[in-house]
């Protein structure tokens, strides 16, 4: 292979991500046209999702899955963020190197378990516990949120740990040398120093929680209704797509593409924000 050919091929491969992103956006946008023309921006705020009897038309609004996605994500973030910070602090500042290594491996294995396993485990082992302690049907927003939290904790904790580890040793030592306690060193030196990476990790985890399908599909209840209590079943965009996309027809199908587009754009914005603002220009 000549040098020029090699270079050109590598360049083409590199542009692939760009074309994929544009391609996904273009395809979703095109297929969502019917629903966009029919419902416009009100789609986002309309609770009704009903096909006509002849299956050719109907009224479709994305409000319920959008709310379900947001609420389950919020619950997950509220639970996961403090726990992930605690784990990162434990790994970087409390545990001895040996224990820290062991726990790190465990946390990373937890992150490697496929999401469908979390969903299934949650359905059979965790949902009954939620039902007994908090009430409700077992499946619902709360259960989905908690299991989602368990899923994103390892991810958040390992990125936070990595950014906390970048704090120069001598900076920590000089705070200790002034009589600071460990917590004060963490709060006043490490956290401010690693701020960008920590916020970035929270936002990336948020993006992941928003788009998670399988763990939530088992647990949220998959019911097209707004939740009134935290234990109520509802649905989310990925779950609705997972369960109903393939069977949908015409306008309903187009509404599904519309939802997929919303999800895609929102995660694109969130992840880009994390990249550009918080991780900074990482390219060395």
């Amino acid at each position: 292979m000549s040098g020029k050919l090699f270079r050109n091929f590598s360049f083409l491969s590199a542009t692939l991500s760009f074309f994929l992103l544009v391609g996904i956006f273009a395809i979703l946008f095109t297929y969502a046209q019917d629903a966009m023309h029919a419902f416009g921006i009100d789609f986002l705020f309309n609770e009704t999702w009903e096909a006509d009897e002849d299956d050719e038309g109907g009224v479709f609004g994305g409000f319920i899955p959008i709310v379900g996605t947001l609420l389950s994500t919020i619950i997950a973030m509220v639970i996961a963020t403090p726990l992930a910070m605690g784990i990162a602090i434990f790994l970087t500042e409390i545990a001895s190197p040996k224990i820290s290594k062991g726990v790190s491996v465990a946390i990373e294995l937890l992150a490697a378990i496929p999401s469908i396993i979390y969903g299934m485990w949650g359905l059979f082992y965790f949902a009954p516990i939620v039902q007994k302690t908090v009430g409700g049907d077992g499946v619902g927003l709360l259960t989905a949120g908690i299991v989602l939290a368990i899923m994103i904790i390892p991810f958040m904790a390992s990125i936070t740990r990595d950014s906390m580890n970048t704090t120069p040793l001598v900076l920590k030592e000089s705070a200790y040398a002034m009589g600071a306690t460990k917590f004060e060193v963490i709060k006043d030196v490490i956290m401010p120093y690693a701020k960008g990476g920590i916020i970035g990790s929270i936002i990336l985890a948020l993006g992941r929680a928003l788009g998670e399908t399988m763990a939530v599909a088992f647990l949220i209840g998959s019911v097209m209704s707004l939740p009134h209590r935290i234990t109520d079943p509802t649905t989310s965009i990925p779950v609705l797509l997972a369960n109903n996309f393939a069977e949908a027809q015409d306008l309903e199908m187009s509404a599904m593409y519309y939802l997929a587009l919303v999800l895609f754009v929102v995660s694109f914005v969130i992840i880009s924000a994390a990249k550009f603002y918080f991780f900074g220009k990482k390219a060395k």
Binding site: E173, A177, G179, V189
Partner: protein
Amino acid sequence: MAESIVMDVRDFSFTYPGVEKPSLKKINLPIKENKITAMIGPSGCGKSTLLRAMNRIHDLYPGNTYEGEINLYKANGEKENILKIKKENDFIRLRQEVGMIFQKPTPFPMSIFDNVAYGLRLAGIKNKTELQDRVETALKGAAIWNETKDRLNESALGMSGGQQRRLCIARAVALKPRVLLFDEPTSALDPISTGAIEELIAEIKDEVSVVIVTHNMQQASRLSDYTAFMYLGELIEYDDTEKIFLNPGEKLTEDYITGRFG
């Protein structure tokens, strides 16, 4: 020579975790009050290890073995063996009494004012006017008050290397420690900034006893009152700086200061 002693290292041996041989062997070294004591020696001789034992900063990483004594004499004449310290509370007190300046400047990611006030706040000072007074005094003492008085609320990370070092000295001085440990305070610094830092160290010895680790022999001879020469974890010779540099008692010391090795 009736100077009083502020710290006294006796038969002190130190072993890092997982290592069999001690890194410091039976060191005996007095630190005289309001004097500058320099520790010199080739890389790996243990001078930094000894310095880091004197405020137990080693203990951030568990598993070290200490033998012997390091006594700290209080103002009222009582002595305390700092190697006996176990409680976090006592570590904090020790580090407020025995401050440390590191090889690299270490401004915290906060404003200039907050950097200097940080230790004071840790020590429990909350009164605003007292904080302001002591920060000002410390910055004046470190000779950067004029450069910083109009930008106290700006981030300390924007200062030049030399300024950052003086800020760190101000930060340590603000706590009014009895002893200040300097680990290579002018490494990788230009001659003018080095001169400024040396002048500063010479000035603060009226307030605080200074121990300085340096690989720069001219610096040791210019600056210090006493010099300790270390080699391979042992203290080879300790005496008046003048004596060490003009008329060393040991062959090894002479070889080192005349540049025949290291």
